[in-house]
Symmetry: C2
Subunit: 197 residues, 2 copies
């Protein structure tokens, strides 16, 4: 692993745990096991190091979503595949959702400038498809955006609010992961169940 990679990984860990404002350059250096000056040698400053980490995180999520949303499948198939694939991915990267949401909240201007490019999740086509299937009579008459919001909520929220969820529902790490494994399939079943005619 190169020094730059060591720094990047350390930065990912610290930024995801503490957020941009709470992260300390010294802590990142310690985590990487190198001198603080190396951070500035490899990355210009804190902001740029953060942007690299954030961009990577975001660009891992977004393309996946668009690939599924814009495929040739039916709406039900897309819902099934999205919830399954997304949860699988986030189980491997459990800090990502909260990290992205938090930084979008604390730094909207910066994040929006990233978001407005090719890699932004774009549900336009899927919305049109939902409307078509409603007309065809496959799906009950619902508002497409509400449906999308339901899907996002059910898949993303448990990870974004992981600590709160564990606390309120009294879940150990293992129990939490078991629940998430189950959710890979039950979310789609429930949603489809509630909108199919």
């Amino acid at each position: 692993m190169t020094t730059e990679e060591k720094i990047f990984n350390a930065a990912r860990i610290v930024f995801q745990k503490k957020g941009f404002a709470g992260a300390r350059m010294q802590e990142i250096a310690d985590e990487a096991g190198i001198n603080k000056a190396m951070l500035h040698y490899c990355f210009k400053n804190k902001q740029q190091l953060f942007e690299a980490v954030f961009m990577k995180a975001f660009s891992q999520l977004a393309p996946q979503i668009n690939t599924i949303f814009n495929s040739e499948k039916t709406v039900f198939e897309k819902i099934t595949q999205f919830t399954h694939d997304y949860i699988s991915f986030v189980i491997e990267n459990p800090f990502l959702p909260q990290f992205i949401i938090q930084e979008m909240n604390n730094n909207p201007e910066f994040v929006m400038s990233i978001l407005n490019h090719e890699n932004r999740p774009n549900p336009t086509l899927l919305i049109a498809q939902i409307e078509k299937e409603i007309e065809t009579g496959i799906i009950k008459p619902i508002k497409p955006k509400q449906l999308l919001l339901d899907i996002f909520s059910m898949t993303i929220f448990p990870f974004a609010a992981q600590i709160m969820v564990k606390g309120i529902l009294h879940l150990s790490d293992i129990e939490f992961n078991q629940m998430m494994e189950e959710r890979k399939t039950i979310i789609a079943q429930q949603i489809i169940n509630s909108i199919k005619k």
Copy 2:
């Protein structure tokens, strides 16, 4: 409005926008229109000012939840009432969910020490009730904790990830609020629809 109240309100605004780590004492003082030294005169330090704000925020949410969860109503009635009341409350305090989730993530030890007292949301009774209604045959056989997670997800997530949701679904502030108004009723309908026999 007393000086202490002015400080408290200013602190709430700044903490909710920037988080604990990102908030600056000077910014809070400016927001309150008073000298920085007054912050330390009324509240010992940043940590204690934050704890006051956080505690207030949390204690506004938790009792509501428990009142509904532990009432004498049926599960369907509880779902209907909870989603409606919670969304109504959060529309008035839209920064609360993200604020609480963020600080729980960045500072789990501290938050847990608060959470472990009387005011913590406790779904134990509701879970037992769900199990009973499943046996009775009113509700389909599902895992109660998964159901609760669905309810929390659908109601809280849109606010916690407000900026992301607006960005991805292309919603103005007004459209977002309209959607949330609709969600006061449709969430319960959909959930009940998907679990009733």
